[in-house]
């Protein structure tokens, strides 16, 4: 008798979890999916809204630094081009660039889009990719470094 009641209670708990947990997970999943477009961590140059829309809001711009586009100005003033291979944005920054900042590497700049279409960064972050290798291997690839970079972009 007691065993039978225990069995029924356990079944009820299982059914309850079976209904509540998937519903909850689905709700969270759908919410996150819905939020995806409004919670952008950074904009690519071609997704960038125009300056009026942003109205002085601080945003992040992400992309790749264009080769040979880095220009050192007076003091720590620096400017460079950020591209997503569709559009390109000129970024100006007054400060120290991070250790891994480089041409043809990922970068995330935080700041404001000005009316003239340039981006004034308050903070510049270097993005690191998921590829790791020892320097000797990188050295041996150096002749094919362009090839390696192209491959990386395709990935």
């Amino acid at each position: 008798m007691a065993a039978k009641r225990g069995f029924r209670k356990r079944q009820r708990r299982l059914i309850m979890l079976g209904l509540v947990l998937p519903a909850l997970f689905a709700a969270v999943g759908l919410t996150l999916y819905g939020l995806r477009s409004s919670t952008v961590y950074f904009y690519a140059p071609s997704d960038l809204p125009n300056a009026q829309e942003l109205a002085e809001r601080t945003i992040r711009l992400g992309g790749m630094v264009v080769k040979d586009s880095v220009v050192q100005g007076e003091g720590t003033l620096v400017s460079f081009l950020v591209t997503d291979f569709e559009e390109t944005v000129l970024v100006t920054f007054d400060g120290l660039l991070p250790g891994l900042f480089a041409d043809e590497e990922g970068v995330v700049a935080q700041g404001k889009l000005l009316a003239d279409g340039t981006f004034k960064a308050e903070r510049v972050l270097a993005k690191h990719d998921e590829k790791y290798m020892p320097p000797e291997v990188a050295e041996s690839l150096k002749g094919d470094y362009g090839e390696y970079q192209r491959q990386r972009k395709e990935d």
Partner: protein, 44 residues
């Protein structure tokens, strides 16, 4: 444009990361081991 941290000295940062990891995990293990020993002794 330089894009490598190769050749720079990060001994301090690496030591902090490994040291803190060892300290926290080691501390937890030691605490668990002591508690188990006390529980064993207390049984007699």
């Amino acid at each position: 444009m330089e894009s490598t941290l190769l050749g720079q000295d990060f001994t301090r940062e690496i030591a902090i990361c490994w040291g803190v990891s060892a300290l926290i995990l080691g501390g937890l293990m030691l605490h668990a081991w002591q508690a188990l020993r006390e529980a064993k002794q207390g049984r007699d």
